[in-house]
Structures are given as structure tokens and as C-alpha cells.
Amino acid sequence: MTYARRAWIVLWKDLLIERRAKEHANALLFFCVLLLFLFQFALGPDRDRLAAAVPGLLWLGFILAGLLGLGRSFLGERDNDCWEGLRLTPGDKSAIYLGKLVGNCVLMAAVEILLAVLFGVFYDVDLWTPAAPLGLVLALGTIGLASVGTLFAAMTTQVRARELLFPVLLLPVQVPVLLATVSATQALLLGQPLADVAHWLKLLAGADLVYVTIGLLTFEFVLEG
């Protein structure tokens, strides 16, 4: 019970601070719109080309927005030595990781939904028909990205070159997640049923399980540094 309360209070604190400061949300919103314009300019008006590139672009947008958001998820803990305070709290430190992970998933999901809607409008892509299976792919991909991202963000928070180190560490580990999400998204947008992408979903679920377990088991060592 205490474990769940501790994870919950970390989530509550992060979301409350985000709601008040709006540091991430405003920057990410602007970034998403900018990204859409850039893709539009890069690919031109050719509809077929756009349709073929949409799954990759969509996940590129999610990843880039995720890199920005996740990379900052522990920066607030450096202010006023709060990181040190977290270390001094007795009990299982993985509750902090769990709270941070859920908070990051919530923020990323909000950005992804917004980005997906903008994609649909800007590129005239029907994301509504496959919305339910696409939502499942999105949820599994987000957990995969956020689980490793949260851990690596904690690892690099105290490092001077963290802006460079964070994506360099994160992206190679994300290859299975990226491969599965982009392939599954492409198939779903082409109108294939969910059963056809079951193998990708299994890969995503497996990767999520492994990443979250590693995060929970190793976070204490990362925090103690």
C-alpha cells in the first residue's frame, strides 16, 4: 500500500507541477506544429508519397517529442537538491520510477493524441477508422519509449552533456520498439486487421515487459549514483 501511495504521490506531484508551470506542454505543442510544417515542406504536396511516409513520420514526431519531454523529466529534481531528498526517503526507490514512468506516459500520450489529430488534418489521413487498434499500438509504443526514456533521463540528469548523451543512449535501445510500432502502424493505416499485426504487438508487449522490469530493478542504483 505504501509503495502504491509513494508512486501515486510522485505522479501527482509531476502532473501538478506540469499543469502549473506548463514548461513541457507549451514547448512540445509548438514543437509538434513546427514538425508538421517541416514534414510538409520536405515531402511536398504528392499525396501518395505522403501516405507512404505517414507511419514513419508519425512515429518520428512521437520520438522527437518524446526525446524533448523525457529528457527533462528529472531536471526539476535538481532544483533545491530535491534529488537528494528523494534519495533520503526510506523505502523501495522503484516507486519513484513507477510514478515518473506513468507521469511520462500520460504526458506523452497527450502529445501523441494531439500530434495524431494534427497529422490527420494536415495530411488528410484517416486515423479515425483504425483508431482503436492504432490506440493499442500507440499505448504499447509509448510504454516502451517512456520506460527506457525515464531510466536514461535519471541516469543523465547529473551529467553535463546530458542533451547529447540522452538520445545517443536511448535511440539504439529503442530499435525493437520503433521497428514494431512503425510496421504495425503502416499495416493498420493500409486497412489490415489487428490480427495481421499480432506478431508486432507481441514484440512490443515483450519489449515493454523487459524494459519496465529493468527500470524497476535498476532505478535504485541510478538514484544512488
Binding site: 530535491c82 528523494l86 534519495r87 533520503l88
Partner: protein, 237 residues
């Protein structure tokens, strides 16, 4: 409450702490004096279990703090420079967060009582961003009060405070001591905190140069002693 033996901390070729031993019982307050770079913060961080010494042993209460830091941490309340305050949370929310993280009772009544005790009840629902350094320090002390720590570690608690703020912290320390708590106050300022200290220790060059009962020393004598000891360390062998 604290039994530290031969604590050493080495970073590369630099010896930050060089065989520091000290004991502190319940209801006692130790003022740790020393110039900048003397090793005060390092010693305090080792006592808080935030830093592992290169060598030596440390007991906090009944716990071997090096082998069971989690047990030791249940006894410790630390107020460092930053006071562990989230700027975008209110005073009440800050306390709720830290007390829940400790696994304690974060009920509204307890939070209100702690805020009243540190005279922050009138700003309980204002964001910490608007607080002065002294108010943040008091919020840190309220967190310690809620956690029922038996050992209080304060790093430069008087820095940045006005006369009233310094007096308030001194009175808080006296009350904490009277309640059976032990406190270590690291400072480089002479006037503050010494009034409530039972013992005064001087740290210089990573070594404990002096550890004596405060009652034996007048402010003037302490000042002279401090100057001569730290000058001797700076002059080298």
C-alpha cells in the same frame, strides 16, 4: 545517536576527510565550524548516508549506516542548502509530498500543525516560488518535524537569513534538542547556532582539529582558537 570512527574520503589524490571520528548523543547539538573547503559538507553528507566514505565506520542510532543506510535514513532529517522544496508546489503540498514519500501520516491536521509550528500557516497554500530563503528553510524544518527525525543535519542553516530568521532557527534547534533530538550544524559563521550548541568542533584540511564542550569556550576564545588552528592547517606542515 552518531558514532563515527576514522571517516576518510578521498577523491583521486585529494583527501577531503582524513580520519574524522565523533560521537553525539541524544539531546545534544554539535556546531561544526570550518572555513570553506574544510570538508564540513562532505562530513555532513556522509552522516546523512548520501555519500559513502572511502574508509571508516558509522552508526546512526542502532543502525550500521554504511551497511543499512535505509534503516539509518528513517532517523535522519536533513536540511541542505536547497531545503528540498518544489517551487511550483505550495507549502502544504510540499509537506504532503515528502511525508507520503517517507511513508508517514500526511493527514491535513498534521500538515497544518507542522506549518503552524514553523509559522508558515498563513502562507500554507501559496507556492514556494514566492518564499524567501528563510521561509524555505522553515519549510524544510517543517518537513523534518513531520518525519519525526531523531537526528537533524543542517548545512549552513543561517546563510541568507536576517536576524529574525537566524534567531528563529536557533530557537527551533533548542526546542528540537529539548525534545531529545540530536543535531549537527555545519556553519562557517561564529555568532549563530553556538548559543544552542553543546559542543563545538573545528574542521580544517579534512581533519577534526578540535572538539570541545561549548560551555568551556567564550566566543572570543573560540574565535582565537579557530584562527590559530585553521591558520596552522593553511600554512601546512
Amino acid at each position: 545517536m552518531i558514532t563515527a570512527r576514522d571517516l576518510r574520503k578521498v577523491y583521486g589524490s585529494s583527501r577531503v576527510l582524513d580520519g574524522v571520528s565523533l560521537e553525539l548523543g541524544s539531546g545534544q547539538c554539535l556546531a561544526l565550524l570550518g572555513p570553506n573547503g574544510a570538508g564540513k559538507t562532505t562530513l555532513l553528507r556522509i552522516l546523512a548516508t548520501l555519500l559513502r566514505p572511502t574508509a571508516g565506520s558509522l552508526r546512526i542510532g542502532d543502525a550500521d549506516a554504511l551497511r543499512e543506510p535505509e534503516r539509518a535514513r528513517a532517523e535522519i532529517g536533513m536540511v541542505a542548502h536547497g531545503s528540498y522544496v518544489y517551487e511550483d508546489l505550495t507549502a502544504r503540498e510540499n509537506l504532503r509530498f515528502w511525508e507520503t514519500m517517507r511513508g508517514g501520516d500526511a493527514s491535513a491536521g498534521r500538515l497544518a500543525a507542522a506549518l503552524a509550528q514553523v509559522e508558515l500557516d498563513h502562507v500554507a497554500d501559496e507556492r514556494a516560488r514566492t518564499f524567501s530563503a528563510g521561509m524555505k528553510r522553515r519549510l524544510g524544518l517543517a518537513r523534518v518535524l513531520l518525519g519525526r527525525a531523531r537526528l537533524l543535519l543542517l548545512d549552513e542553516p543561517f546563510t541568507g537569513l536576517d536576524r529574525r530568521g537566524r534567531k528563529w532557527v536557533s530557537e527551533f534547534l533548542a526546542g528540537f534538542k529539548a525534545g531529545g533530538g540530536a543535531a549537527v550544524v555545519a556553519t562557517h559563521s561564529f555568532g549563530d547556532g553556538l548559543g544552542v550548541a553543546d559542543r563545538v568542533a573545528i574542521l580544517g584540511g579534512g581533519r577534526l582539529l578540535m572538539d570541545r564542550p561549548a560551555a568551556e569556550l567564550s566566543a572570543e576564545a573560540l574565535h582565537r582558537l579557530y584562527e590559530s588552528l585553521t591558520d596552522a592547517v593553511e600554512a601546512g606542515p
